[in-house]
């Protein structure tokens, strides 16, 4: 089974020591889990006030690494921070970013803010995938000084509806089946994909519900490495394969098409 991990990081996280967070370490982690490519952004950028410094760190790390194109950079951009337009252009032109990751709760803006809509328009023009993690880590273990609630899925769905020419990835999320992404499917453009980092394929079967509701062509593989072990997501893929689902599409085909 070929896997493209749409939810991966390099760098540091302020609340906990991460392992395998260098290109070399992440590649080893990917090799053991059978992941051929990962879309990576800077974990450090989530907590930096000037998140672009994290993009610069990511670029330096990738430039010095022998990864043979296996690590695809995503930029972390805060549209509430001065100069984001120039930073975005640098990420595309210099770093080769193929997408963005947004952390509105950490960077103190709302998805409904005008600046966020401007960024989404820019993403469409630059053909960047916009990945929005519902959370970075479980809120119950939040650091005492970090108070970042999960991204509201219906708020995100409203943003997705407003930008039909922008492609979105709903990442690291639970509860998508009960949100507007599914319950108002008829009102939603076909411009969003969902990763299976958290929804399970057994017992509650959230992932199965998503596949049935959205179609397998809208589901992508994501593990959250190196915050997470990759194996739980890999185990889900193995179960899907055993149950006859289109794991070629979910595991890598959909992601590859999304970037093409």
């Amino acid at each position: 089974m070929r896997l493209i991990d749409t939810n991966a990081y390099l760098g540091h996280w302020a609340a906990r020591r991460l392992r395998h967070n260098t290109p070399e370490g992440l590649l080893r982690l990917m090799d053991r889990a059978g992941i051929e490519q990962a879309w990576v952004s800077s974990a450090s950028a989530i907590m930096y006030r000037n998140c672009h410094a994290g993009n610069e760190e990511l670029h330096e790390a990738l430039t010095g690494a022998a990864h043979q194109g296996r690590l695809i950079p995503f930029a972390v951009i805060s549209p509430a921070y001065a100069g984001w337009e120039r930073d975005l252009r640098w990420c595309v032109d210099t770093m080769g970013a193929r997408g963005l990751r947004l952390y509105p709760a950490y960077h103190r803006y709302r998805l409904s803010d005008a600046c966020c809509h401007e960024l989404m328009q820019a993403a469409a023009e630059l053909k960047l995938v916009v990945s929005v993690p519902q959370r970075v880590e479980d809120y119950r273990q939040r650091h005492w000084l970090i108070d970042a609630p999960d991204v509201g899925l219906n708020e995100l769905a409203a943003l997705v509806r407003s930008h039909p020419d922008t492609r979105f990835l709903v990442s690291n999320a639970l509860g998508v089946s009960g949100s507007d992404f599914v319950t108002r499917r008829g009102d939603m453009p076909d411009n969003y994909w969902v990763d299976i980092c958290r929804p399970d394929v057994v017992y509650g079967k959230d992932a199965i519900a998503l596949i049935e509701a959205l179609g397998p062509e809208r589901i992508v593989f994501g593990s959250g490495i190196p915050f997470n072990y990759p194996e739980p997501a890999v185990v889900r893929m193995e179960v899907l394969q055993a149950q006859g689902y289109d794991v070629a599409a979910i595991g890598s085909g959909n992601a590859r098409a999304l970037l093409s």
Binding site: D138, R140, Q141, R198, D200, V202, F227, Y229, R236
Partner: protein, 257 residues
């Protein structure tokens, strides 16, 4: 062999129908088939705080599940220790069944509350483990003012070193690094690996600090998370097997299922 040492069957008194709740329990068995989990050690939880009537009804459901899936489901007897006399009688009733292997306590009291002592002493007398719902969350959990953490349990473990105490779900949401360190401070405590949190390094940290011989594989309903993080842990195969079932069988004094 793989034993999920922290599992549940559905409470039949909720809003779902009898058929729906059995279907959910069947889905857990199906999950075991898909993921290679041989045995689920299940409690059934009545709404908290439970009463003698409700915890008896919950345990009836647990016993029915054992009967429905013989060999696949073992049981924990759930009680509210605040009803001491009734709780002790219920423990005796349930533990008379061969496949009821321990006691489950939830969040009605902190684990070091003196009200628990009769239950703890009864479990020592019967030589069975107590699995405690446990978490060390940054913020108070709504509706769970008396949830215990591993620190509460470590205090009791030092007072009752002969007790077989299991710290529930170190990956159940909360500061698992704190829980691991607190658990390690009491050398008789066991901990289960269950919960939806799959933070890389969690299992290795627990093995390093607590010891592989005191960890129990478990899912608590997060099945691919539970299986995946044990598979992903960089530990020896001997340690992985011990965590998967060997430690729990040893804790129960059983050589095989």
């Amino acid at each position: 062999m793989v034993i999920d040492a922290h599992a549940h069957v559905s409470w039949p008194g909720g809003t779902s129908s009898e058929e729906t709740s059995w279907a959910l329990d069947q889905a857990q068995i199906d999950a075991g088939d898909a993921l290679g989990i041989d045995v689920f050690v299940c409690s059934c939880l009545a709404p908290r705080p439970s009463t003698p009537e409700s915890f008896r009804a919950a345990n009836d459901r647990m016993l029915a599940a054992i009967q429905r899936w013989p060999g696949r489901v073992w049981g924990y007897c759930y009680v509210n220790p605040g009803y001491s006399r009734e709780a002790l009688a219920e423990i005796e009733r349930c533990l008379a069944h061969d496949d009821v292997v321990g006691v489950k306590l939830y969040n009605e009291y902190f684990f070091d509350d003196p009200v628990l002592r009769p239950v703890i002493e009864k479990c020592i007398e019967l030589d069975v483990p107590i699995l405690e719902h446990q978490g060390r969350c940054t913020d108070p959990l709504p509706g769970q003012p008396y949830i215990s953490d591993a620190g509460h349990m470590a205090r009791v473990a030092r007072e009752y070193p002969e007790a077989k105490l299991i710290v529930g779900h170190i990956g159940g949401g909360g500061d698992w690094e704190w829980v691991i360190k607190a658990t390690a401070e009491a050398p008789t405590l066991y901990a289960d690996t269950s919960g939806s949190v799959v933070d890389e390094g969690l299992i290795e940290a627990a093995v390093a600090r607590i010891g592989a011989d005191r960890l129990l594989f478990a899912c608590d309903g997060s099945h691919s998370a539970g299986v995946g993080k044990l598979r992903g842990a960089r530990i020896s195969e001997a340690d992985r097997q011990a965590i998967a079932s060997g430690n729990f069988l040893r804790l129960l004094g059983r050589s095989v299922a």
